[in-house]
Subunit: 465 residues, 2 copies
């Protein structure tokens, strides 16, 4: 397998292919096939998302994939942002359609006309909905599995509120939700308020969650948007107040995508293949029996598997014939199963099992009656270790610079004083193909701009996907 | 609410609207919004499907929604069947696409090119894949929620085998799978082999599962297709045999859709609204506390809820203020929750709960310590009762006729001798807008044709959706 550190891009493509996550040989560029193993991992990520939002009374819906040009055109600024980037359906059967329709690039235009029907009074608010669907972009740049594609597995939450304050509370709640999800995926991130010229079309402001892949490029893995009343005015989403008047709703959104899987692959894997955090792993524990002529290894393995399944672990036994245990170890390591259990003659005789964690290959001998408790402890330890390792790389690649020339030798996040003006950001961007991630909402330190010297705050810049 | 028996069509639309299953006010004809309650019911149906196929080693995948004209054109007969019925994407951004792309109407053309890459040797077979995705039809007829729409929630299984015999075994396994699913949904059905002129384009033969909605029209709710080597020859899906030669794979498919939800709604509901079978119900048990000033009804209700949740029941407590218990009973009955629990002063004092089944309003008094066991028994009883009631209507509407004129006064399934010729079927069809469902594979009784008098078998005809 490719060396992850020195050839990240090749390693990434190779590990996706050989572990069976996705097949990109489908004849349309940027539209890949979700293979069973990749789809299961993504469904596990979806489950972490659903658990977090469902517990906060979000409700799941599904809107149609098609949006008419009329729906999109309601918001001129919005359509302008997308017209060049979407797929257009222009014919139904053999006849041209009267109104062209776009494959949704995101669902504001699809949803908000319906919101205006659903929101009548104060009592209908807050409205908190989400959907997990595919969205589409007519991507002309180079595509990359799970990162830059034309058919994107997407989570989008949309809310409406009876005051700006309540919508701001929602923005803070998104941070809690995101905290839960990122922690289960063991992903480090920084929050950046995107500069105005890079915020979502129609948003008052956009906060993005940026992580860092090996090779030092940042990856945007989530965004939350404060819309204020920008969209509700355009789509006429208003409610009757207690005093009989009408008021426009304040709105927010929260978006996540299959980039979460890209981050999990890129950040946790190593030169032996994938390493899945336990919450993402399609298989959390694989049992590999080591054949013996003296004792019944297979039924002992079944007993262990049964103990783990009954405690809710996703556990399988690799009983393939014609493969050596060593081959199986490698195979499951490559596929990123966080823990394996080895069971041979010695284990059967002594009533134990050998538990091996994928990331450090540490072995633990556990008595069979405690195997579920040990599995739980070891999986938690794996989660902690993956988090620590990811955080370490993340922190090590956060560089404060005071001199523009330092950009040349810097990878990862570059933090520098910035006045907030686009002109100065562009000077930084152009120098070494850096992008402007924005300012951190929690960092109010004053800093003079590295370009113009005027007063400013810390801005973060990076090369990015 | 509309009377279900006399105004089924209006009843159907009304119950979907007021129970919050789907909103058809979306501005594209036949593309409706899945509302939270409807989506949950559909996801529960999907779960029953997944459980049945996963346990038989089917693996879930997801293919792209777009299929190029080239992919479709590989199989001329196939594209001919669909060209007039699909949405065509012809533009990406502002530019016309070099190759037009269709929104998948079904996924043979998307999948089988990839199958030809995946299937190499004997060891790759049988290949058993499925996906649950939306498919698209440019439907020009009158649309109807969950029954005739343009964006269809769809399950499709696709298999490849190393012999025709094995693909026939697959066809029989589909019958087992369908038996499980239909039984959990309490849906009666008949299997009909569709006449050749109505089989799936490219299939050797098609078996369809037909049920009956109130009003006497049949609804096709599932199909399985034997493709033989028709598609594998076109898409070049072949494998290396032990003797070194190559052989084309034999293929089958199995399709289900949101029509399952339509059938559940239409068959089980009554004049008070929906009735969900327990496996489909988003909420299986609703607890309605009857306020009391003397005892603490709410914490008693919580205790009951906790007992049920811990046993895996989908259970909620309706603690809305400003609504009477009577209002709540009606509300949840309308939404089809199969069982409610009433808890008032008397119940708290005596340590009991009143369990009421939705379909017959029968009340059972259960001691609180046994409430989970009683719930399980009652839900099973509801399932049996819904099945019996549905079967009864189904059987009562199966009519054997010996005279063409009897069609005038017949609803439901009409069974009549038929020689198998299209000409004779069309005479039956034209007479009273009946359609030909085909012959039952299990009924080999000889019968002379009701039209031409030649020897034949029993054919089934009906008005249908």
């Amino acid at each position: 397998m490719e060396n992850k550190k020195s050839n990240f891009s090749e390693w990434y493509n190779e590990v996706i292919e050989i572990s069976g996550l996705s097949d990109k040989r489908y004849p349309i560029k940027g539209m890949n096939v979700w293979m069973p193993y990749g789809l299961k991992a993504m469904q596990n990520i979806d489950r972490t998302i659903r658990e977090s939002v469902d517990s906060r009374n979000f409700q799941e819906v599904q809107f149609p994939v098609l949006i008419t040009r009329d729906q999109l055109s309601v918001e001129f600024e919005h359509v302008k942002g997308f017209e060049k980037e979407v797929f257009w359906v222009t014919r139904g059967g053999m006849e041209p359609l009267e109104v062209e329709m776009a494959l949704r690039p995101t669902s504001e235009a699809a949803m908000y006309g319906m919101f205006s029907l659903w929101v009548r009074s104060h009592a209908d608010l807050p409205l908190r909905l989400y959907q997990i669907v595919n969205v589409y972009r007519y991507e002309t740049k180079h595509t990359r599995s799970f990162i830059r594609i034309r058919e994107i597995h997407f989570f989008e939450a949309h809310t409406a509120h009876d005051s700006y304050e309540d919508s701001e509370r929602q923005m803070r709640q998104y941070m809690d939700i995101w905290g839960e999800i990122s922690s289960r995926l063991c992903l480090p991130f920084e929050v950046h308020q995107r500069p105005d010229w890079d915020k979502f079309p129609g948003a008052k402001y956009t906060l993005a969650f940026d992580t860092l892949l090996p090779g030092g490029r940042s990856l945007q893995i989530g965004t939350i948007h404060q819309y204020g009343t920008n969209f509700s005015k355009t789509y006429d989403i208003k409610y009757l107040k207690d005093d009989g008047g009408h008021e426009y709703a304040n709105q927010t959104t929260f978006g996540l995508s299959e980039r979460l899987l890209a981050a999990v692959i890129g950040i946790h894997g190593d030169d032996h293949g994938l390493i899945f955090p336990p919450d993402v792993a399609p298989t959390q524990v694989v049992i590999v029996p080591i054949p013996s002529k003296k004792v019944d290894v297979d039924s002992f393995a079944k007993e262990v598997q049964q103990k783990l399944l009954s405690q809710g672990f996703r556990c399988t036994t690799d009983d393939r014939e014609n493969y050596t245990p060593g081959f199986k170890y490698n195979d499951w390591e490559m596929r990123g199963v966080p823990m394996r259990i080895e069971i041979g003659e010695r284990e059967v005789t002594s009533g134990t099992a050998v538990l091996v964690s994928r990331h450090d290959r540490k072995k633990t001998k556990a008595p069979i009656e405690d195997v579920a408790a040990w599995t739980s402890t070891i999986l938690q330890g794996i989660k902690d270790a993956l988090t620590d390792k990811a955080n370490k790389y993340f922190r090590e690649n956060m560089h404060h610079i005071c001199n523009l020339d330092d950009l040349a030798k810097t990878e990862g996040f570059v933090i520098a004083g910035w006045c907030g003006e686009r002109e100065c950001a562009e000077k930084i961007e152009e120098r070494y193909e850096f992008g402007t991630l924005g300012i951190s909402p929690d960092d109010s330190e004053e800093k003079s701009c590295i370009v113009c010297g005027k007063p400013g705050r810390n801005g973060t810049f990076s090369r990015s996907y």
